[in-house]
């Protein structure tokens, strides 16, 4: 076996093993170098994985040579490979901008330990996606969560400690729920391998144990996902965490949680059970909508921009949850698309906030006064990121909202489509607040002379901004992937093609008359 064959495990192990190395190096700059190297190598590995999956379908990797379902299996399919890619890309880009920001913001602990914790969180997220074993998901979830608690507590404001503690309590409850859910499934099937679970579950799916397991899993994942009203830990955590951490978490952690949700509902329980027999949509659609409207409204009133964007994240997660809840082709496509797109826009916005925090020292609305002149490139990035958040055509935000609206109309639920658009208008308001302050008001006198952000922040920032536009224009790439991913998720390797009609050409308009997902799944 060559090194290439070990890629599925390498992308997890590489950051995992570099973490202790960072502690040993003990000097922040050296640790930064090591972490950056590891992240970029992992990114290359993930890119290679995407290529492999595209050529030969899903990859199964047996850990230690033990055959599944007894041994632990790593399994990377199309969606998994792309989530790995985006997580590693975000880690690589965020780390690029991290050195200066960490020097400025982290002084209570050694910077080297920060990078160690960062890599552990990164490894945990990669592991969650790569693994094909349900219990392993829990293990990696804990790895990433524990290191995240540490990362958040490193914020320069002492309120970061409370925020981290609250997140610790809530995150642990979430992880415990997930563990209980997995335990129930194990009780009924005697297996932890995801594929094996998917095969055995239909026989016992009518038992209360499985249903209780389903409930624990959805609520537990909902907590990690920051689904309304389980999002309460998130605004504080995002606000008080160091800028780098916020950028990384906002772009990846909740996205991986979405991936886990899709994995469990579609991959393990199967569409028929997860979205058909269980009335999940009665939970997800209202909660998604409430999340969109309520969190956007809260965001409008915020004066701390980090917090504003945190609430906007709750709203964006509402869109994803709504997409899953609508339970048809376009809905799932929208959810998967928004998973990527939201990572792109929020990654860009939070890195920009990091740059503002680095130069101005604060991210309150007042700090933005007159920034349009003093930091034109950073503010330009915020404007484009904001447009994407609103969903202006030509940016990625439009593509996912388009599919979401289509999904709602396909179900005949036009009030939902209308509410989604109302959400967009609310996004206009809170984005405009920042833009107006930056471009149409004079700089406050006390803020001194701020100049443009350092180059090492601008490069990752504008990479993400351009990605926002590129993928907003070349939609076949992302939309095609989302469809493909949905196909694979729904039925493993083309065995049960519940999503088969997804691949039919011109589905966006053509599938207007297409049947809902549930019917398709039943007929398949």
């Amino acid at each position: 076996m060559t090194l290439i064959d070990h890629l599925p495990v390498l992308v997890v192990i590489l950051p995992l093993l570099t973490a202790p190395l960072c502690v040993l190096l003990d000097r922040p700059v050296a640790a930064w170098g090591a972490a950056l190297g590891a992240a970029w190598l992992t990114f290359v590995g993930a890119a290679l994985l995407v290529g492999q999956v595209a050529d030969g379908g899903a990859i199964s990797y047996q850990l230690g040579g033990w055959a599944p379902p007894w041994g632990i299996e790593y399994r990377v399919d199309t969606l998994g490979a792309y989530v790995l890619l985006i997580v590693s890309a975000m880690a690589a880009l965020v780390l690029l901008s991290a050195r200066e920001s960490v020097e400025r913001e982290i002084f209570r602990v050694n910077g080297a330990r920060f990078y160690a914790a960062f890599l552990l969180a990164f490894a945990g997220l990669m592991g969650i996606v790569a693994t094909g074993d349900a219990f392993n998901v829990f293990v990696f979830l804990e790895i990433s969560s524990l290191s995240t608690y540490a990362l958040i507590s490193m914020g320069r404001d002492r309120r970061a400690l409370t925020a981290a503690f609250q997140y610790l309590v809530m995150g642990t409850i979430g992880a415990t729920f997930i563990l209980i859910g997995i335990g129930f499934l194990y009780m009924m099937t005697g297996t932890l391998n995801m594929l094996d679970l998917a095969e055995r579950l239909p026989e016992v799916s009518n038992t209360r144990t499985v249903r209780a397991g389903f409930a624990f899993l959805t609520v537990g994942i909902g907590l990690k996902l920051a689904m309304f009203p389980l999002h309460l830990w998130m605004p504080n955590a995002y606000t008080y965490a160091p800028s780098v951490v916020t950028a990384f978490l906002a772009a990846t952690a909740t996205k991986v949680a979405v991936y886990v949700l899709l994995r469990f509902i579609l991959g393990i329980f199967g569409i028929e059970f997860g979205l058909g027999r269980m009335p999940l949509e009665y939970l997800l659609i209202p909660l998604g909508l409430m999340g969109i409207l309520s969190a956007s409204m809260v965001a409008i009133y915020q004066v701390e921009i980090k917090r504003l964007l945190a609430y906007s994240s709750v709203a964006q997660i509402g869109y994803i949850v709504l997409g899953v809840g609508l339970a048809n082709t376009h809905g799932i496509t929208a959810a998967v698309l928004h998973l990527f797109n939201h990572a792109l826009m929020k990654g860009a916005l939070f890195i920009a906030l990091g740059a503002v925090a680095y130069r101005i020292g604060a991210t309150t609305l007042d700090a933005f006064s007159g920034l349009g002149r003093r930091m034109p490139l950073t503010m330009g990035a915020i404007v484009i990121g904001g447009l994407s958040l609103i969903g202006v055509p030509g940016t990625v935000g439009f593509v996912s909202k388009w599919y979401l609206v289509l999904a709602a109309l396909e179900r005949g639920l036009w009030p939902i489509a209308l509410l989604v658009l109302v959400g967009s208008v609310m996004a206009v308001v809170y984005v405009w607040k920042v833009v107006e302050r930056a471009y149409f008001s004079q700089a406050s006198s006390g803020s001194g002379e701020a100049s443009e952000a350092p180059l090492m922040m601008l490069i990752p920032l504008w990479t993400l901004v351009l990605a926002n536009i590129y993928f907003g224009l070349h939609t076949d790439l992302s939309a095609g992937l989302a469809r493909q991913a949905a196909t694979v998720l729904s039925g493993g390797q083309g065995e049960r093609h519940a999503f088969a009609y997804l691949d039919s050409p011109g589905s966006a308009a053509g599938a207007a008359g297409g049947a809902g997902l549930c019917q398709a799944a039943q007929s398949a």
Binding site: I173, G174, L283, A508, A509
Partner: protein, 564 residues
């Protein structure tokens, strides 16, 4: 290149104007509309340029006679506007103005609703900067209100388009009608931009607040794109006749009592739009021709009037009618050019307004809408009073104001732009065949027939002409001052008094209604703030225990749901 994407020239010009400065920028600004117009000239009716997005077949450019007419019109308006604003050194305005014109051109050539939506929103955003460009607190606030309405219109359009396409109608932009699914939403979206009554607030609010040059651009594009869209999507909709008649009549009352002369013009813009909307509502070939031709003429003569008022504003810095006056002594050329515009908007024979307005009026009679015809006659007379007499009179004649001493003719480029407009007004009015050849239908209509309607219209026009002559003459010989005062009284006392007495009766209801609305809004706002504001229940940091309660609630809820 420019014939496959007509808006390209203007957008390219906008981009280049952002990078260049000085004379080079002036050259770019002048070349862009000319190049674009040449592109339109090269176009073949029936051409379709499509592309694929998200698996949808979109038609980016659809060429037909209607689109070509508006294509010429917008390039012409952009050119006049550019000439008019050549003396300005303001990158923001230049870029915004060209991009705004480009969006308008893009919108009229859009062959599908999604492309239309993109240009629709671009129109909103680019034009808002012309309001912002005045750079005052007030224009910022006005610009925001304007932007909210315009973007709101776009959102309605998008929602309607998706609904319409979702019902299997496809996205292509042809006849829609109110009965189509989503049709009402699209209708409302168009209605906001064409300033339907009750939806018109943004227009009279924002246009007078823009820069002197910005208003010239504003009055040309947004509303005409909306008229185009209505003519394409809703011809022959009966509701439009009623709406248009109302639009033609109600602004007259406001225009008469309004003091800000550019706001008077904004009201008269709505009034002129009313004629077009009526024409679209009647929907016969003659009426549609009339509506489109009137849109064409309105851009030119309203632009001319706006330009002359802009020149006054530029020279004096004042726009209140009560403060202005007597400027004809120092600004004779501007005065004459303004009079040409006033004659055109009042539909004097041999001026452009006459050859198009009469088509709509004739069509109304032909289709038997006699009440509408009467209302339109009233509206035409009203236009004459507030736009034909009031504008030039207050600005250039009336009493001698304190501005006369320092007044002078505006910069030469402004005069050239106004002269182009004035020549077009007179030219189209005298030789309407050239304009008629461009219209979408061939109706063989001739405005200079001695038909019944024309006789009446001419009667009206000539009586108006007599009034004007008396008034012009009345300034010098003292014995004719009574006439002047009579006329003065007519529109300074009678109209306002009538309106005031009407208003005083309606006011209590109106006030109560408004107050109720305001209190509802502020109640809602307070409620929202209480729950969503910084310390609201939904925004503040929660104790961990309460978070856990939510988890428990949700778990219980899902367990119950799943067990059922």
């Amino acid at each position: 290149m420019f014939e496959s994407w007509p808006a390209l020239a203007l957008f390219l010009g906008a981009a280049l104007a952002g990078l260049t400065s000085g004379r080079l920028r002036a050259a770019v600004m002048l070349a862009a509309p000319l190049l674009g117009a040449y592109g339109v000239y090269q176009m073949e009716p029936g051409t379709l340029v499509g592309y694929q997005l998200l698996g949808l077949d979109l038609t980016h450019v659809r060429v037909d006679r209607l689109a070509i007419l508006f294509g010429y019109l917008f390039h012409l308006a952009a050119f006049i506007g550019v000439v008019y604003s050549l003396h300005i050194r303001d990158r923001l305005q230049d870029v915004a103005a060209l991009a705004y014109a480009g969006s308008a051109v893009g919108a009229v050539f859009a062959g599908d609703l999604l492309t239309l939506f993109v240009y629709w929103e671009l129109l909103a955003i680019t034009s808002a900067f012309l309001v912002f460009a005045r750079r005052s607190e007030r224009s910022l606030a006005t610009g925001m209100r304007y932007l909210v309405m315009q973007v709101g219109s776009g959102v309605l359009l998008l929602a309607g388009a998706i609904w319409y396409a979702g019902a299997g109608n496809g996205l292509s932009f042809n006849y829609i009608g109110l009965d189509a699914p989503g049709g009402v939403l699209i209708f409302l979206a168009f209605g906001i931009k064409s300033a339907f009554p009750m939806l018109h607030g943004w227009l009279t609010d924002a246009y007078p607040e823009a820069t002197p040059t910005g208003t010239v651009f504003l009055s040309a594009f947004t509303t005409k794109v909306a008229i185009y869209a209505l003519a394409r999507g809703f011809p022959g909709t009966d509701l439009l006749i009623a709406i248009g008649t109302l639009m033609a009549c109600f602004p007259i009352f406001f225009a008469v009592v309004e003091n800000d002369l550019r706001r008077v013009l904004a009201y008269s813009l709505i009034n002129q739009l009313g004629f077009m909307v009526v024409g679209i509502g009647i929907g016969t070939e003659l009426a549609l021709n009339g509506a489109v031709a009137h849109a064409f003429n309105d851009v030119i003569f309203k632009g001319l009037l706006m330009m002359s008022m802009g020149a006054v504003l530029h020279v004096t810095g004042e726009m209140r009618g009560s403060e202005l006056g007597g400027l004809y002594k120092k600004m004779p050329k501007t005065t004459i050019l303004c009079m040409v515009g006033a004659a055109s908007i009042s539909a004097f024979p041999l001026f452009s307004g006459f050859v198009s307005k009469s088509m709509v009026v004739t069509a109304a009679v032909q289709e038997g809408h006699h009440l509408v015809w009467l209302a339109l006659l009233f509206a035409a007379a009203g236009v004459f009073h507030h736009a034909g007499i009031k504008i030039p009179f207050f600005a250039f004649f009336a009493h001698e104001s304190r501005y006369v001493a320092d007044a002078h003719e505006p910069p030469r480029n402004m005069l050239i732009a106004m002269t182009i407009g004035a020549l077009l007004c007179a030219g189209i009015g005298s030789f309407p065949a050239y304009l008629y050849a461009l219209l979408p239908y061939d109706t063989g209509y001739s405005p200079y027939d001695v038909s019944h309607v024309l006789a009446q219209l001419q009667l009206l026009a000539f009586s108006a002409l007599a009034f004007t002559w008396l008034k012009l003459a009345g300034i010098y010989p003292p014995e004719l001052k009574s006439v002047h005062l009579d006329v003065d009284w007519f529109y300074r006392r009678l109209f306002p008094d009538t309106i005031r007495s009407m208003l005083s009766r309606l006011a209590p209801f109106d006030r109560a209604f408004r107050q109720w609305g305001l209190s509802m809004v502020s109640l809602a706002q307070q409620g929202l703030c209480r729950h969503h504001g910084s310390y609201g229940v939904l925004a503040r940091a929660w104790p961990t225990g309460s978070m856990v309660i939510w988890v428990a609630v949700l778990l219980g809820l899902s367990l119950v749901l799943y067990y059922l």
